[in-house]
């Protein structure tokens, strides 16, 4: 969990804070975290490098807050889906759709997460990333295995491979997805699910 300077998100100045985090996430996503200088962020925000340190106490804590708030909202959405206790196929469909909604809302954060998560997981401050990944695997892999047991998913596929396949196909979309494009998140989710579940080939 990140250490937030302000007490609550409903603070009067929280708007400016979110605004700055949004531009920071945008630059992080475009250039990569390490390649992004704090002066570049300040430039995009219309101020000077030192001024950022009035709002945040380090560059790292910006990244922390960006990733943590994204993961917070993501898991809130997932919990809602899981609470419905749908069947395996319907659960997968709902999880994928929810994931694309999150990509729609947090495109930049997702792109940053996807690029930096792996080597950040070592860093103790970002331990919650690894924890989230474990929870993620438990939910998705569990649903897949439940589906195989119930005979709705094919049993001749390696579950671990299918899990990574599903996970990756969903999140890499953040690298090309642009909000306001031809397809909304629900439509993209529908087509993705159609390909993954029913296949791209014509049935014989």
């Amino acid at each position: 969990m990140p250490t937030s300077k302000k007490t609550e998100t409903t603070s009067p100045a929280a708007g400016r804070r979110r605004e700055l985090l949004a531009t920071a996430a945008e630059v992080f996503a475009a250039q990569g975290y390490n390649a992004t200088t704090v002066r570049r962020i300040a430039d995009a925000a219309g101020m000077l490098a030192g001024s950022l340190y009035y709002h945040f106490d380090s560059k790292e804590s910006m990244l922390d807050e960006i990733l943590a708030t994204f993961l917070g909202e993501l898991w809130a959405g997932y919990e809602t889906v899981l609470a419905a206790r749908l069947g395996p196929r319907e659960t997968i469909e709902a999880l994928v759709t929810e994931s694309f909604r999150q990509i729609d809302r947090h495109r930049a954060a997702v792109a940053v997460y996807q690029k930096e998560a792996r080597h950040l997981a070592d860093h103790p401050r970002f331990g919650y990333l690894a924890e989230s990944q474990r929870k993620f695997e438990r939910v998705w892999l569990g649903t897949l295995e439940r589906g195989v047991a119930q005979g709705v998913f094919r049993a001749d596929l390696d579950p671990g491979l299918a899990y990574r396949f599903l996970r990756d196909t969903v999140w890499v979309a953040a690298s090309w997805y642009r909000p306001g494009g031809r397809h909304g998140p629900e439509e993209i989710a529908r087509q993705y699910l159609s390909m993954v579940l029913d296949g791209m080939a014509v049935r014989p």
Copy 2:
């Protein structure tokens, strides 16, 4: 194309050069290009930072050579596949299999490519990356559309979306694939193709 110091790859000292490039690619893949210091590479190679500049004239040219040699071998493999002039489905299958073989051989380079390609494409020196991506799209998207026209692929899917889907699912595997694991590249390709073409769901 990269500017190679040595005239040919069959030089006597080319072995050491390839060795250094391999360790550099490994560190780049693990830490990211920008986050990797030239001293860290030298450390992994068992020498000091300055000594690297006997073999290469900059950190950037190391990255250049890593990516260029990978793309060179990749396209050599693709050309062989395309020269066979197979049907659309068989072409896709052969391209995916060849891609996983390249991941098997150039795991680190692929990981670096996937992480850095997007923001490197702007840099004029790495213009061949964007060119390769265009060629890539022409081949894959063309094969998909040919398949739809011949009735072997479903016509109710957005071709552009299917292309990105296929492309991403193949290359993200480099982020978790480890050579010498349970599945070889051909087996992984087989399962990937089974999921993408025939779907994960049980046929009704």
